[in-house]
Amino acid sequence: MIELENVSFAYAGEEPCIHGVDLRVAAGECVVFIGRSGNGKTTLTRLINGLAPYYYEGTLSGKLRIGGTDLAEIPQWERAKQIGCVFQDPRSQFFSAELAGEVAFGCENLGFSVQEIRDRTDGVIRTMGLDALRNTPLDRLSSGEKQKVAIASARAAGPRIFTFDEPTANLDEESAGQLSETLAELKRQGHTLVVAEHRLSWLMELADRFLYVDGGRLVREFSPRELALLSAGEAARIGLRRPCKTEPPLLPAADCRTGAAAEARRVCCTVGRKTIFRDIDFSASPGEVVAVTGRNGTGKTTFAKILCGLRRESGGSVLFSGKRLPPGRRRERVFYSANDTNTQFFTPSVEEEVLLLLPRREKELERARETLRRLGLYEYRTRHPATLSGGQKQRLSLACGVLSGRELLIFDEPTSGLDGGNMKIISDMLKQEAENGKTVLVITHDAELMEACCTHIFQMGGYRPGR
């Protein structure tokens, strides 16, 4: 179905990033590109779906064939009928505020007749079980549902092949599981799937082959079995996340213990008439790394924002060293690093970003240098934060938190969409900060991260495995 013959590619004005790749993917196969960030996984999916060099300009050599046709000979819009693309962040690819318009968009572009547009759109919505969402504004859907809508809109044009570029980067474990079912359904119907991904566990039952990409080359091929048998040490060495599902470790619960550095007593949150959560008892002390976990929609992020004073609690109290503090004062003591790093940086360089509003004495400068070095950002210190990769931005946000000097640090899903190497750097840093006397809170679903650095667990909504 897909054939790559000695394909090399360089983005305009850059060094070549794909070198002599040969690949054959049979119809109905599911192939996954794995490997460290920045080694060409995404570029490979772009080459297959034609966005490179059509949209991302550059020079391509070698032969690419889809179903026997040379890709160089057909225009991009013909390709759009054969290949559906799904990207990282569904939020910012929607052109419509509601489901049907979004799903129909591709068909409208491709010049189908009105009847055909309607048949295809309604058909896809029905097959994917999305009928219930027809009247919900797309912005109000959960990220898992948004990703499903993105797949539906790629599917409406009737492609035989789908490419996915890190589709779970913004999803929690549960939504990733649902995505896995959607992909399994596509595969059952004979579609060919090409996925570039860090998170592996949701693909283990689905994928036929895992291709390890390193330095723009396909260096190794794993069957799911071989990958599952890879030891944790070996996986970490080549920068992979753990392939099998990891159970969250058994940790002591972080319920209310009086005298802790930060405490929440019977905290409630209601928005309008809806109760997000009620009567939350929680505490954390210096030296602890508390994992805040729980299903989607149990209010983990809302709870974190209440702790750090970005939101006001509807009931109960938040105490620091036994004293009740209003939201404005809490902000001086808590640093909150949101999962979405897009609007978090304000200055023109990494070094200025970490020193923002801090005194610039030699002591602070030295600490900043040291932190950047430990997070592998020192060589990027003069770069503009906007030019960093997703993992680097997460690390920069972590650096800002560490250097802010505040006593409680909260990180919201800091490892979502990161490779094994980045995960390790972040977990080491969190551990060390706790040892330096900080109180650390991580909202996470990542059992690997919990295992690596967390000392306590706080389960929101439902049962508590820690006890």
Binding site: Y55, F87, E98, A104, N109, F112, V114, L310, A386
Partner: protein, 232 residues
């Protein structure tokens, strides 16, 4: 779905808007524009747009009251001058017709554009305009939180360095705007936006009798209004 069916076609709404412009700007007696406003309330009611009806009724009611006080009881405005009160009162029919036009579902608007063979770029632009508001609202919210979090919103910081504050708001927002436009462009390219040839739409619909009737009735009424009331 009931409500969607009650709404007039875009062509009809456009016709209503054009007729309103003519009526408001050509009439000799500006005092009589309340007749046009009343007609527009009927148009909104015929579409079962009760919320819009109520909103404009309150808006128009307050302005009429102010105008009445200004004219007959010598009220003088301290802020927001008499000129503005009069202007807004006079232009309310235009606002109503315009709102009725732009509050048509984006799908219907783009279907109308496709029908009149507007270039793909225009349709794309139209869709982007409607995406702007929900997207920016979310981004601004995120930006405000990160500014709070980094301590950039304290009064001391803002007052001492207003220039920096301006930069801290504008730069992340603009960078994010560019990022979003890139992602939208990739998404459009992947879904065949550059396909040449005619384009159809999911929401394409034939003009119904009630659309034609409404447009004709409204335009006719405006014509009668101008003929009887006189033209400038």
């Amino acid at each position: 779905m009931e409500k969607k069916k009650a709404g007039f076609a875009v062509a009809a709404r456009l016709c209503v808007f054009a007729a309103t412009l003519a009526g408001v700007f050509l009439t000799d007696g500006t005092d009589r524009t309340w007749i046009i406003a009343a007609m527009l309330f009927c148009v909104l009611a015929a579409q079962k747009a009760w919320k819009q009806c109520a909103g404009f009724a309150v808006f128009y009611g307050i302005l009429s009251l102010l105008l009445y006080l200004i004219r007959f009881h010598g009220l003088r405005m301290a802020a927001f001058s008499e000129f503005h009160v009069f202007l807004f009162w006079w232009l309310t029919p235009v606002f109503m017709a315009a709102w009725n036009l732009v509050s048509a579902p984006p799908g219907m608007l783009s279907a109308f554009f496709a029908r009149v063979h507007a270039p793909t770029g225009a349709i794309l632009g139209l869709l982007v305009i409607f995406r702007f508001f929900p997207t920016m609202r979310a981004e601004l919210h995120g930006l405000r939180e990160s500014m709070h979090n980094r301590g950039l919103t304290g009064p001391a910081q803002v007052l001492r360095r207003p220039g920096n504050t301006f930069e801290y708001i504008l730069v992340p927002m603009l960078l994010r705007c560019l990022q979003i436009s890139d992602q939208l462009a990739v998404s459009a390219a992947a879904r065949g936006i550059d396909t040449p040839g005619p384009r159809h739409s999911y929401y394409e619909q034939k003009l119904r009798v009630r659309d034609i009737l409404a447009a004709a009735l409204y335009a006719g009424a405006i014509l009668v209004f101008l003929l009887i009331g006189g033209v400038k």
